[in-house]
């Protein structure tokens, strides 16, 4: 998230949408309640009345999968009620109390002019740049008109002299484009005017038709949340998988960002876009690049087109301005960590040893959903299943387990025998017909090994081992090490099709000959290559750790696997003692008075607690709210209560305030409109893959034109004629995801002994279902039998004039387990389609039918 858990206390309005924080993130309540006690208003937008809705002030129901319509309506509300009536006053120099024009004009791209070719056609539901043949967009027309251009100063003593230094791979620096702007926001091609035009279709009646809420409630939500547009006020959006698990999930996230920017809520205390991550290390897993398109620390993997060579990568990925001008330093340092001494200037630091993601139009997709298609086709024959349980958690789980039966071999690394480890034991499988060889490697639980965890607020902590692992279980890194040594030995002995990437990989994280997470921490922090040997002795460690990422170089002299973490483990006086590193800090005094707790743990990047905090002050460097100061220009220097997220000092000289509030973008202004998405520059409402409606109410395209998985036969699309009920899935406090761990705890099984479907009293009456019954839920993909909760907390909605039933299912049970099990898996029902940007599956909106079992 852009902020951190403790910062919720500073919010004036809190809005949970697509998240149920009280249920799924219990610790959040501590900070949210503080805000509430200080008078904050709390809104919950959700298909059902959740545990969070109970503690909130306002509850607004919504049909699953219609969030963008909801946000679009709020943009229109803000434009109509706050911006349009006051813009002229602001431009005339009047002080406007209720809207932060200074933020909109100076810190966002509202004033930027888009290319003349940019347009959106409501008739087709398509943006400009659509290629019917490939079914994809070209983003060219979504870019800005250019006022002027300038070039990097790479001369000796110039700001970019490093880019042509010795050891730096040759690349042509990007040209700095200076976009055309209209600071009066009147040019029809400026982002603001396009935004206004785009969302003119999203009036409240239309939003209610799509989303199914009552107009009075919607208006109350809009007016309450839009009150945070006043300078000095902050609204926090708390979201989770209810936003991301859609065929337009990334656009949902964009939509929240646009809303927060329109209201001036990004970078201020109590604001932000708060992604509530799951298990403590989900944020860490994301940082580590656990997606096929994301290299560790949010760099991009090589691919077969735009990033096919190192030079292409450097020229295409390096930003022309802002902090990402330093990307070559991050990438070369990563390559140096990856391939060590084998990475040299002459061989492009080993860039070509990295695998390349197939990226030409029509190339095979290897993301999560598609993996199972490739298994069923016999393309993928072996599968490492490490720390996940896709037989349970993958969409269309029945398809996943049937696909796994096609594997020659499967390795499962887990703490318990999961559904994935026992996929052949599923009630509908025939073990005698399955030839897959399954290996199970028991691994240590989090408390049985030392290591690093990271929470949603980007705080890193080191955890010491509490107890020994059970039996033969080993920490994951020991398992990796054993496998690695065997694989390398085989390559050395037998050669192989492509040995270089393996044999040149640097793998030396040993202390006294034993694999150890501490030298790995050196690699994550970064060090000077010259003075460092990761393969170390405990008595005499040789390492020259970097103080932070500002010391990274693009010439091969530094190595760093994860640039964003640099600084978290930088104490050269005790490099093997976790307790002596920034990551181990345990001082909970709060000098800020804002709950920053800057001396507690370490927050990436650079111990910054609130990202984009430059935007907490005006263009003169004066905080919007004197009581909520993060950074402040004193007239001669910056007072940094939080570590400034901008260039505060250059060459030792304080940099006076300017409008570069978002320096992780080349514009250094935040994007209301963005050309970075594959499915459109502005969030547009499309229906879920399976929808109760036959047409999209706001445009001519029913679904997101480029969603992932549309061609897979296994998805077995269902229509409202057969499956009239909208379903979604969610979790309960008492169980964690597939339940592999929590169902091993009898007390948790006792507290939540079953997975269930929640239905309204109206639907129960219609279907003759009573408390205590079992209910069969089915669609084209599967049929499951679950317990029922008949509840007043779920109500039918009026959608496009008709009554629409909604149901929700929890998904924690399966056949594996010792205390609590279920014959059926809820994810047999969910569709294996996903978002085209993130490849996240659409778990949160699909169609089913139900009957008393």
């Amino acid at each position: 998230m852009t902020t951190h858990w403790c910062d919720f206390q500073n919010a004036d309005v809190v809005m949970n949408i697509g998240s149920n924080s009280a249920e799924n993130h219990p610790v959040s309540s501590k900070w949210l309640n503080r805000a509430h006690e200080r008078g904050a208003k709390w809104i919950v937008v959700d298909p059902r009345y959740t545990r969070t809705a109970e503690v909130a002030d306002i509850y607004c129901p919504i049909r699953s999968g219609t969030d963008i319509a909801f946000y679009g309506g709020m943009y229109r509300y803000i434009i109509e009620n706050l911006i349009e009536p006051n813009l002229a006053r602001h431009l005339a120099g009047e002080k406007v109390e209720e809207y932060n024009f200074e933020y909109l004009l100076n810190y966002t791209n509202a004033s930027y002019l888009l290319n003349e070719g940019y347009e959106f056609d409501p008739e087709t539901g398509l943006f400009s740049g659509w290629d019917e043949e490939t079914g994809s967009y070209s983003a060219a027309s979504w870019h800005y008109q250019v006022e002027s251009e300038s070039e990097w100063d790479t001369s000796a003593g110039g700001a970019y002299a490093w880019a042509v230094g010795e050891g730096v791979p040759e690349f042509t620096p990007p040209v700095v484009e200076h976009p055309k702007r209209d600071m009066t926001l009147s040019d029809p091609m400026c982002v603001y005017q396009q935004l206004k035009r785009h969302y003119s279709r999203y009036d409240m009646d239309t939003v209610c038709r799509i989303c199914g809420m009552d107009k009075g409630t919607l208006e109350l939500v809009y007016s309450t949340y839009a009150s945070t547009a006043a300078p000095g006020k902050a609204g926090a959006i708390l979201y989770a998988l209810g936003q991301t698990q859609h065929t337009y999930g990334a656009q949902n996230t964009r939509a929240m960002s646009v809303l927060q920017l329109l209201l001036g809520n990004v970078g201020v205390p109590g604001g932000g876009v708060a992604a509530l991550r799951g298990e403590p290390n989900v944020q860490g897993a994301t940082d580590m690049g656990m997606l096929v398109n994301e290299h560790p620390a949010y760099l991009k993997w090589p691919n077969t087109t735009a990033r096919a060579t190192l030079r292409k990568w450097l020229e295409g990925e390096t930003y022309s301005d802002g902090y990402y001008t330093n990307k070559p330093k991050f990438l070369i340092s990563s390559l140096k960590e990856w391939f060590g001494d084998a990475a040299t200037l002459d061989n492009d630091y080993g860039y070509d040893w990295w695998p390349k993601v197939p990226s030409a139009v029509g190339d095979q997709d290897y993301t999560h959903i598609s993996t199972f298609e490739l298994m069923s086709q016999g393309v993928i024959k072996g599968y490492f299943n490490w720390g996940m349980n896709p037989c349970h958690s993958a969409p269309n789980a029945g398809n996943a387990r049937r696909s796994m039966a096609n594997l020659d071999w499967l390795v499962v690394v887990d703490q318990v025998l999961t559904e994935a480890a026992t996929f052949w034991k599923a009630p509908d499988m025939e073990p005698a017909e399955i030839d897959t060889e399954v290996y199970f490697l028991p691994c240590a639980l989090i408390y049985e090994k030392p290591g690093i965890i990271l929470n949603s607020g980007r705080w890193l902590q080191y955890r010491f081992k509490a107890v020994e692992p059970w039996g033969e279980a080993k920490p994951d890194y020991e398992i990796v090490d054993m496998l690695w040594r065997e694989i390398v030995a085989l390559y050395e002995a037998e050669g192989g099709a492509n040995p270089d990437p393996i044999l040149n990989t640097k793998w030396d994280y040993y202390v006294d000959g034993k694999i150890d997470p501490r030298p790995v921490a050196w690699a994550l922090n970064g060090y000077r290559v010259a003075g460092t040997e990761c393969d170390t002795s405990a008595d005499d460690p040789k390492v020259d750790l970097l103080s932070g990422y500002s010391e990274l170089a693009a010439d091969g002299t530094t190595a760093c696997a994860t640039w964003i973490y640099s600084g978290f483990w930088n104490n050269n006086d005790a490099p093997l003692d976790p307790a002596e590193q920034p990551i181990a800090r345990r001082d909970n005094t709060d000098e800020s008075g804002l709950g920053l707790y800057s001396n507690w743990a370490y927050s990436w990047p650079n111990n910054r607690r609130i990202l984009y905090n430059r935007a907490s002050a005006d263009t003169e460097g004066r905080p919007w709210s004197a009581e909520k100061t993060l950074v402040e220009w004193t007239g001669s220097e910056w007072n940094q209560v939080d570590v400034g997220d901008f260039t505060a000092v250059s060459n030792g000289v304080p940099v006076p305030p300017n409008n570069n509030a978002f320096f992780m973008l080349w514009e250094q202004n935040a994007r209301l409109e963005s050309y970075g998405m594959v499915d459109g520059p502005l969030p547009e409402h499309y229906e879920p893959f399976e929808t109760p409606l036959s047409k999209n109410i706001v445009n001519g395209s029913l679904n997101n034109p480029v969603f992932l998985g549309k061609d897979y036969e296994s998805t077995k699309h269902g229509t409202a004629a057969d499956y009239p009920i909208v379903a979604t899935t969610y979790s309960v406090t008492e169980q964690w995801q597939t339940g592999s761990q929590t169902r091993m705890c009898p007390a948790l099984v006792e507290a939540m002994p079953a997975q269930f479907i929640e239905i309204s009293e109206e639907l129960a009456a219609e279907k003759g279902i009573s408390r205590g019954d079992k209910v069969r839920v089915w669609n084209n993909r599967g049929s499951v039998v679950v317990d029922v909760v008949i509840t007043k907390r779920m109500k039918p909605l009026t959608v496009d004039g008709g009554m629409q039933h909604l149901v929700g299912l929890t998904h924690h049970y399966g056949w594996a387990g010792a205390f609590g099990t279920s014959e059926t898996l809820v994810n047999d029902l969910t569709p294996n389609v996903g978002d085209p940007n993130s490849q996240t599956p659409e778990f949160k909106a699909f169609l089913v039918n139900i009957e008393k079992a």
């Binding site: 009280a22 249920e23 219990p26 610790v27 309540s29 501590k30 309640n33 009345y49 545990r51 969070t52 809705a53 109970e54 503690v55 909130a56 002030d57 306002i58 509850y59 309960v732 406090t733 008492e734 009898p746 007390a747 948790l748 099984v749 006792e750 507290a751 939540m752 002994p753 079953a754 269930f756 408390r771 205590g772 317990d787 029922v788 909760v789 008949i790 509840t791 007043k792 907390r793 109500k795 010792a818 205390f819 609590g820 099990t821």
Partner: protein
């Protein structure tokens, strides 16, 4: 040490079950370990009631109305630690007694004789019993101890310590009452007109103080709780247990029979008059015309249950 109290503020509660689980963990209370042995209640309230291994449950009551259309009234069901604790008053063996320092009703299970009087007396239906002995024929009282063990070490009760939203607090009773009174006013100011403080005077004053957002009954609390008439009735017999050993044996035995009689037939035997009465109606079912010790014992052993269960009531 001043009198202590746990404060349960329903308006902060998120019904997360954390307190219920923490209670089980701290007190080593087992959960069912048979495959799918725990049945599902059809709501979030699992297990549905207190039982011989569960001293605290969260309750989940759904009501129509309110500004949000529906009200999900979370409640907390466990011992309220009354000042005038009828269970401690009636307990013949000293297994239940008021902890004078804290005001909690402490439990010393080794002293329990399984008479189940406390259950009869409790206006909140709290005490449960764990069956033990070779045939499960001995029942031992199971209820919240107020974590007196932790309090004496300067700690808060386990349920309080685990509560993330701050719905549970612990401290001096007067201070908790003060917090609760203020909180009720805040809630009323926010439009929760039925918000009420509960526990200040009930049963002489409870040591679990409640802030109930939607009123007493919405959160599963007992309006105007009264000790069962049984408590007075049996109180008469208490002196019996205080005199010589022989009389004490008889006293225990008589009360044992009484308790069992109540549980099984809702009948009670008054050794002072020798009458057997129906507890619910107060009618004399059998007059005490010349019942001697022997017939009392026979009455007891006729009614002595042989329990097979595992203590789940």
């Amino acid at each position: 040490m001043a009198e202590k109290a746990i404060l349960f503020d329903s308006s902060f509660c998120t019904g997360c079950h954390g307190c219920q689980i923490a209670c089980k963990c701290w007190n080593n209370l087992p959960s069912p370990t048979g495959l799918n042995e725990s049945g599902f209640s059809g709501t979030h309230q699992n297990p549905p009631d207190l039982n011989g291994h569960t001293r605290l449950i969260m309750t989940y009551n759904e009501l129509e109305g309110g500004s949000k259309g529906v009200m999900w009234a979370f409640g907390r069901r466990a011992c309220r630690h009354c000042s005038d604790a009828p269970c401690a008053g009636i307990c013949p063996s000293g297994a239940l007694r008021k902890d004078e320092e804290t005001g909690m009703v402490a439990v010393e299970r080794s002293k329990c004789v399984g008479c189940q009087y406390c259950s009869t007396a409790c206006p909140f239906d709290v005490p449960r019993y764990e069956a033990s002995g070779p045939l499960g024929q001995v029942t031992i009282v199971e209820k919240c101890t107020g974590c007196v063990d932790r309090i004496r070490q300067g700690m808060a009760p386990a349920c309080v310590t685990t509560c993330q939203p701050g719905a549970l607090r612990f401290g001096d009773r007067e201070e908790m009452l003060e917090v609760a009174r203020e909180r009720v006013e805040v809630l009323k100011g926010r439009g929760y007109e039925d918000a009420v403080l509960y526990g200040e005077n009930e049963m002489g004053g409870l040591h679990v103080i409640y802030v109930l957002k939607y009123g007493v009954e919405a959160h599963g609390q007992v309006p105007n709780p009264q000790a069962s008439p049984m408590a007075d009735l049996v109180g008469i017999m208490k002196p019996l247990t205080a005199v010589g050993a022989g009389a004490a044996v008889l006293g225990f035995a008589a009360m044992f029979g009484l308790g069992v009689g109540y549980k099984r037939k809702k009948l009670a035997y008054n050794p002072e008059t020798g009458d057997t009465i129906d507890v619910e109606t107060g009618e004399v079912v059998k007059h005490g015309d010349g019942q001697d010790e022997q017939s009392v014992k026979e009455h007891i052993f006729e009614n002595l249950p042989v329990r097979k269960g595992d203590g789940h009531e």
